[in-house]
């Protein structure tokens, strides 16, 4: 698979960017007190949830060279798992989150088994097709609202305590999960497995000739990525207290790709920055003009063209 190539990430940017973002995120609830607090907190939580999804996508897109155009499927699977379990009275995070992850993992392993064998455009189309299938399937779930989606009557509890109920508490739970996801992925990409994944993107024939089971490594990466995105879906449904098939719409998958590309692929902190920038821009532009998408699209293209490594690439180059 001729994947998108990665800019060699500068060490200073790789440390400074996530440090600043996490510091800002940790302090945001304090600053929010001076503004429309619940709006700021819920926007912040949303940004962090999408950051988890974007980081998970970067694992396979930036490191693995697999352009998944169906990643939003996992947002939906995680979201519906949360919705259905809460509806059935088993919404505690200690149960519902592992179930959401397991469901995502199973869907990823099954669809990945097929799609991993294809390359390039075929991979894009087949991941899109699988996501569309589950999108239409969700539309038929009349017990869970069909195409209208379902409203969650409560958020998940955490070990029986209503920890996710308040906006501030929910915010910090999401922040903790984002930090954990980011650190786990950092460690993963530096591990022998992560290095092999990245090397396979660059030269699969060489890696196979050295004894690496290329398909299996890609499949494991795809499954890990889908599982992590399922966590984001679980959180998103809890945050919105609502889940619908639109979670899995192809536009959503496209937005996730845009976040990763905007921030800079194959760096993880690029995906983090990309999610923040994407949603902040969307929020600001949507406020200014109803035609914000007309501005937003070209802006995205500009950033991507200006710095092949996205925003992170621009930062890298400014430093020299």
């Amino acid at each position: 698979m001729t994947g998108p190539s990665r800019q060699s990430p500068s060490r200073a940017v790789a440390i400074a960017v996530p440090l600043l973002i996490f510091a800002a995120l940790a302090l945001l609830p304090l600053a929010a007190g001076f503004g429309p607090k619940s709006y700021i907190l819920s926007l912040g939580a949303r940004v962090m949830i999408f950051a988890i999804a974007a980081i998970s996508l970067d694992l396979i897109l930036g490191y693995g060279g697999m352009v998944s155009f169906g990643h939003a499927a996992f947002l939906g699977i995680g979201g519906y798992a949360a919705g259905m379990l809460i509806d059935g009275g088993r919404g505690d995070m200690l149960i519902a989150l592992p179930v959401a992850m397991l469901a995502s993992a199973i869907f990823a392993a099954a669809t990945g088994y097929v799609s991993i064998r294809t390359k390039g455009v075929a991979f894009i189309m087949i991941t899109l097709a699988f996501a569309q299938m589950i999108y239409f399937f969700a539309n038929t779930l009349s017990a869970y609202g069909g195409s209208d989606g379902m409203t969650l009557y409560a958020r998940s509890t955490l070990a029986g305590m209503p920890l996710l109920k308040g906006e501030t508490a929910f915010y910090y739970v999401v922040l903790a999960l984002l930090l954990a996801a980011f650190l786990a992925c950092r460690s993963l990409v530096a591990s022998p497995f992560g290095r092999a994944l990245s090397a396979i993107r660059q030269n699969p024939a060489r890696m196979a000739a050295m004894g690496y089971d290329v398909d299996r490594i890609r499949l494991v990466a795809y499954t890990l990525s889908g599982t992590l995105c399922g966590v984001a879906g679980f959180l998103l449904a809890n945050q919105a207290e609502f889940v619908s098939p639109s979670y899995m719409a192809w536009q959503r998958s496209g937005e996730l790709i845009a976040m990763v590309v905007l921030g800079g692929m194959g760096t993880l902190h690029g995906a983090l920055l990309g999610a923040v920038a994407f949603l902040a821009l969307e929020e600001i532009l949507a406020d200014l003009t109803p035609y914000w998408r007309l501005v937003f699209g070209p802006l995205l293209i500009l950033v991507v063209l200006a710095g092949r490594g996205g925003l992170v690439g621009l930062l890298d180059r400014r430093r020299g």
């Binding site: 060699s8 591990s191 092999a196 090397a199 060489r206 196979a208 000739a209 050295m210 290329v214």
Partner: protein, 257 residues
């Protein structure tokens, strides 16, 4: 004169046949490589040498015939499974991991044999051990001072050396070399011949090469591939005479390479 008891071959090709459309690129090719032996495969451009190497390494499937590695039929196995059974190769077009440093490239080559692929956290102790091992192979190919350079920034000749180090590092039973001297400078190719000569006896090699000096100074046996067929095979002197005889009768067509 046959040796009285030739060791069982480590690599055996039996009737390998492969076509691209109507073009038969491998035509019932049979040959073997004995332990520790350097078996050179020569032939003009387009003879099907690279295609044959691909079929041995598993990158291409033959239409018919068998590849037997260490007594085991591996014809149906994918490339990585053959590599795990002791087969290593280089590519005619240099094939390394561009973003990784020279050292990391060789470390990567060592991991499968160390059973260290599905490791999901960094393991500094193991990394150090493998790095020390990898450094020795870089030293061997003259890249001892270039370990931290990304493969993409190495010169062409250095990348060829790196690829050889990657192939040698897991200490394969059989090494397939597809024109290792191609595009290297005089000095580098002399070093390469010396390196391969130094490895002789340790690992069996199937050497595809155009450089006749290298072929006749290294090979224990030489096979000649023309139009997908083995047209001559045997001791270097024997094959050289055979080729000269053909050249005398048939003209330049048979004066190969």
């Amino acid at each position: 004169m046959r040796p009285t008891s030739p060791a069982a071959p480590v690599l055996e090709l039996a009737g390998l046949t492969r076509s691209f459309g109507s073009l038969r690129v491998s035509d019932a090719v049979s040959l073997d490589v004995r332990p520790g032996e350097i078996h050179a495969l020569i032939g003009p451009n387009g003879a099907g040498k690279t295609t044959l190497i691909h079929q041995i390494s598993g990158l291409l499937r033959p239409d018919a015939g068998r590849v037997v590695l260490g007594g085991e039929d591996v014809t149906a196995l994918p490339p990585h499974a053959r590599a795990r059974r002791g087969l290593a190769r280089t590519f005619q077009i240099t094939s390394v991991i561009p973003d990784a440093s020279a050292l990391d490239n060789v470390v990567m080559a060592l991991r499968p044999a160390a059973g260290a692929i599905f490791r999901f956290r960094p393991d500094p102790a193991e990394d150090r051990r493998l790095a020390a091992e990898a450094a020795e192979f870089l030293e061997l190919v003259g890249l001892g001072a270039r370990t931290t350079i990304p493969a993409a920034s190495l010169s062409h000749g250095e990348r060829r050396g790196l690829e050889l180090a990657m192939a040698l590092a897991p200490q394969p039973r059989v090494l397939l070399l597809d024109e290792p001297m191609a595009g290297t400078g005089r000095e580098e190719s002399l070093r390469l011949v010396a390196t391969l000569a130094g490895l002789k006896g340790r690992c069996a090699m199937l050497l595809v090469e155009h450089d006749m000096h290298a072929v006749f100074s290294l090979a224990d046996r030489v096979s000649v591939l023309v139009g997908g067929r083995i047209v001559a095979s045997g001791a270097p002197d024997h094959v050289r005479n055979d080729l000269q005889v053909r050249a005398a009768y048939l003209g330049d067509e048979a004066a190969l390479c």
